[in-house]
């Protein structure tokens, strides 16, 4: 390092630095014990921030790995469970716009957070559905699965909640609680791919409505062309079918929502790790600048002291 270059640099940094060392010495007084007369620009603050950001980055990376592995496990189950309700749609048709008196909206959400925006979209759609299907004699109630939707729907629709179910379910084919309903709309996030989740509404009709629809003709009317064996009447078969359909769709909905939750968590954690990395880069630049500035200040003082001695 040539002395001439140093002097040039010293002159460049002299004026702005004369003010900042004083300020940072005031600041550093509050962090560390500074002996009288020693002026040093403190890099402690920046170093602490860097350490915490790095820890956060490690944590979010780990969460992403965990979510990815859970996703793989659930995804196969979900794809298999899709086959459960597809025959129902082929047989009975999907009727999203049937006019019914009492409808229940089942909102499926997650219990844990940090999964991006999927829970808010489910809640938004449930609210829209609620608005759409309320009228003079229509009644809409919510059944909530999962903590996150409960917290959000609690704020404005308290009166309409009839059941809420929380905590993990592994194999919820045991759904024995019956809620009186005419039409049941299940709102969940369907899993298309790792980065894409569509909020979906599936509709399950109660047996009476299905009877009505089948009289009215259309897809459901073709039920009559099926032969029913055994001594059961068509009404009973429809009732069994409706319950089974409900439980299949609910099962599938919960699985798909779980998949979407893990996928959303993966992408959320991934973007937050990347943000943490960016923050770390910026902090490193600031740290280096501060460090170099303090070194230059010391050099300036030494040189000016030396040149003052020389006369």
């Amino acid at each position: 390092m040539a002395m001439a270059a140093l002097r040039r640099e010293g002159r460049r940094f002299a004026t702005p630095l004369l003010s900042s060392p004083i300020r940072s010495s005031i600041i550093s007084h509050s962090h560390e014990e500074v002996a009288n007369g020693v002026r040093s620009i403190s890099t402690q603050v920046v170093r602490n921030r860097m350490k915490s950001v790095k820890n956060i980055q490690k944590i979010t990376k780990a969460m992403k790995m965990v979510a990815a592995s859970k996703l793989r496990a659930i995804q196969t189950r979900t794809e298999n469970s899709r086959g459960l309700w597809q025959p129902f749609t082929a047989l009975l048709g999907d009727a999203p716009s049937v006019d019914v008196k009492k409808s229940v909206i089942v909102t499926i959400s997650s219990d844990k957070g940090l999964c991006g925006g999927i829970n808010s979209t489910s809640v938004k759609i449930s609210r829209v559905l609620h608005k759409l299907s309320s009228g003079p004699e229509k009644e809409t109630k919510y059944v909530i699965l999962g903590e996150k939707a409960k917290a959000q729907l609690l704020r404005d629709s308290k009166q309409d909640i009839s059941l809420s179910i929380t905590e993990l379910q592994k194999n919820p084919l045991n759904y024995t609680q019956n809620v009186e309903f005419d039409a049941l709309k299940i709102v969940f996030n369907k899993f298309h791919s790792v980065v894409q989740f569509m909020p979906t509404v599936s509709t399950v009709l109660s047996p009476e409505i299905m009877e009505r629809e089948s009289e009215a003709g259309g897809k459901l009317g073709e039920l009559d062309s099926y032969e029913i064996e055994g001594a059961e009447t068509k009404g009973e078969v429809l009732q069994n079918l409706a319950e089974f359909q409900f439980s299949c769709i609910l099962f599938n909905g919960v699985l798909e929502n779980a998949c979407s939750e893990q996928g959303a968590r993966m992408s959320a954690m991934d973007s937050s790790s990347r943000n943490a990395g960016d923050m770390l880069d910026r902090l490193t630049l600031t740290y280096n600048r501060t460090r170099q500035a303090s070194i230059t200040t010391e050099l300036i003082e030494i040189i000016s002291g030396a040149s003052a001695l020389e006369g």
Binding site: K158, Q159, I161, S162, L163, S164, I165, T166, E167, L168, Q169, K170, N171, P172, L173, N174, Y175, T176, Q177, N178, E229, G230, A231, E232, T233, E236, Q239, N240, E243, F244, S247
Partner: protein, 71 residues
């Protein structure tokens, strides 16, 4: 099949839904399995959730249903 023509099957008359009926039947079938497969099947049957009914905007005490092999 029910031999009483037209009458509801006995479980429906007893107030059970079709889902509970099929769950009980599945349970019976699982109990018929032999040893290594039986353990996996029993583990598939476990379910755990906590249910709370809401009355008038207030949740009642939640009941935690953690069902094992005996329902």
């Amino acid at each position: 099949m029910a031999s009483a023509g037209g009458a509801a099957p006995f479980w429906r008359a007893a107030g059970m839904t079709y889902i509970t009926y099929s769950n009980i039947c599945a349970n019976l079938v699982r109990n018929c399995l032999k040893e290594p497969f039986k353990a996996e099947a029993i583990s598939r049957e476990k379910v755990h959730f906590s249910l709370s009914k809401w009355v008038d905007g207030k949740p009642e005490k939640p009941t935690v249903r953690s069902e094992g092999a005996d329902h």
